[in-house]
Amino acid sequence: MKFGVLVFPGSNCDHDAYHVVSKHVGQPVDFIWHKETDLSGYDAVIVPGGFSYGDYLRAGALARFSPVMGAVKRFAEEGKFVFGICNGFQILCEAGLLPGALIRNRGLHFICKHVNISVQNENTPYTSELKNGNVLSIPIAHAEGNYVCDDGTYDSLEENGQIVFRYCDNKGDTNADSNPNGSRSNIAGICNVNRNVLGMMPHPERACEELLGSNDGRDIFRSLSNTIAALES
């Protein structure tokens, strides 16, 4: 199995993702510069956080036109795994790989803090080591994390089990007080219908070591690597 971490001009969580895959997942991983057009040989690609293209126009809007994104689309269509974190989630929405959009936080502030998220669908490649209702402490760091979509899209997300994580309190209740940014229905992460593409605003790669305040993020990466291992065997 092999992971890739995309690198756009302005990505800044690429090394964190690389570190987690190599150290905590224990799998081979490469950086992939955004001008690459060939992703053969990889099983999963991480679209990392940061400020690709300086967030010019809209967060994630210009990264969509990088040469590698055509390859990422084909990769996703082949059923391989694409995992967008923070700016990566924004890029995947802009590229049409995930529905909806991420707009400015309700309170306008850039928010950087640990939040709780609860697992809404344990039957995805990214949550197979978790159970519905599990509460994870994972940091967020964004100004545009307010998930919006129209009613029809929301209904289909619900029906298809595409809402994977919701912001919650420490008991797992998803209420208005535990919604940091105004996201529709406390949405923190969604997947596509086929469940091989996941986008989430919280940073699980920053929560893989007790020293950093939480290692709850490991289960997400381990779920993915166990899923890939099961497919290989």
């Binding site: 929405c93 306008l108 919006v148």
Partner: protein, 80 residues
Amino acid sequence: MLAKVYVTLKSGVLDPQGTAIHHSVELMGAEGISNIRQGKYFEIRFDDDLSREQAESEAEKIARDVLANPVIEDFRVEFV
């Protein structure tokens, strides 16, 4: 040939920046304002040898595919 592209948030999409501006404008003493929405404005200058029809279709495509995100935004193109 100059195309002017206006990108605005769809009605119903929260605009916290517009709300903050509205608040500040009221602090300045302005009255009678029910709402302020923030948008974006672009100028695209086309080469003179391009036909008007070509420029219109290019501007429309650029606005739809790049400048606006159709999930949250509407756009309008004007030529001067």
